[in-house]
């Protein structure tokens, strides 16, 4: 279960499994307080499919809710279909098999640019970001976008762009589905 009182911008904040909402969100009278609350203690990171994101109910395009839990930060896994490079931002169209969603990475420092430059069309990536809505569309403001590289523990193998434990990357979505 991942909880953070304050996001520090570090990719390490998203490491590890168990992207499950905090149990504090399960209070009997939590729904209205959660919808209006901006308490950072209640925020969590949810692994969702693009289909789930598109179907999230929202009243004002800034508050998304899934079964009474506020959805702010999300993580998705998918294939980069398009990449657009502008002066201070990169926009990736990521397809996870259930749909496609725009993911925008704003860059200010060299390290941000290097990260975005390394993401190529056709590669599988994991995206962490803040879910946004505008005029009926949903998109993600990206905190972190990285190539999907997972070491297979039970064999002697080095990191490689071509080794991807794709199935495991989608299991957290199912875990969230079980929870809700």
């Amino acid at each position: 279960m991942y909880r953070s009182s304050e996001f520090d911008g570090s990719a390490a904040a998203f490491m590890g499994g168990g992207f499950m909402p905090s149990q504090t969100t399960q209070l009997p009278d939590s729904s209205s307080s959660l919808l209006s609350s901006r308490n950072r203690e209640a925020r969590c990171l949810l692994a969702l499919t693009v289909k789930q994101i598109c179907e999230l109910p929202s009243n004002d395009e800034s508050n998304f809710v899934i079964d009474g839990v506020e959805v702010t930060n999300v993580t998705i896994v998918g294939r980069v279909c398009q990449k657009e490079d502008k002066a201070s931002e990169y926009t990736f169209l990521v397809d996870d098999g259930t749909g496609q969603i725009e993911c925008t990475r704003w860059v200010q420092e060299r390290i941000d640019t290097d990260e975005a430059e390394g993401i190529l069309v056709g590669k599988y990536v994991r995206v962490h970001g803040h879910l946004r809505g505008l005029q009926g569309r949903r998109f993600i403001n990206v905190f972190s976008i990285s190539l999907l590289l997972i070491r297979l523990r039970w064999i002697e193998q080095c990191w490689s762009d071509d080794i991807e434990f794709f199935a495991a990357a989608h299991i957290p979505c199912v875990s969230c589905g079980v929870y809700f």
Binding site: T49, V50, K51, Q52, I53, C54, R79, D95, G97, T98, G99, Q100, I101, E102, G122, Y124, R137, R138, F139, L152, I155, Q157, S160, D162, I163, E164, F165, F166, A167, A168, H170, I171, C173, V174, G177, V178
Partner: protein, 107 residues
């Protein structure tokens, strides 16, 4: 944002359920025959993948996204090398979940 063209997670046993639909499948490459790639699905079904593979050599495991044109063949649109080893058990579990009780998360 577009959910109009999903690619359904399938293995060999689930492919017949999605003929004429867009699917994604991981196969182990066995060889080629008359311009098509012959592969084995993660649940040990032999399948035929038609279309033009990428210019780079295929690895042992490949993900194919395309249209299922029969119960045992796919017309491929996208090929992605997945390396020489792959966790077929987990992938099969994902396919079962994505086509079963958690189908609403994917389709």
């Amino acid at each position: 944002m577009d959910t109009s063209k999903p690619a359904i997670f399938v293995n060999g046993g689930l492919l017949p359920m999605h003929v004429q639909k867009r699917v994604r499948i991981v196969i182990q490459v066995l060889g080629s025959d008359r311009g098509a790639v012959i592969g084995k699905s993660t649940d040990d079904h032999q399948l035929t993948v038609k279309g033009t593979p990428p210019s780079v050599p295929l690895t042992n495991f490949v993900e194919v996204i395309g249209i299922a044109d029969s119960e045992k063949s796919i017309q491929a649109e996208i090929w992605t090398n997945f390396g020489d080893t792959f966790d077929t058990y987990s992938y099969n579990q994902l396919c079962q979940l994505a086509n079963g009780e958690y189908q609403l998360l994917f389709l």
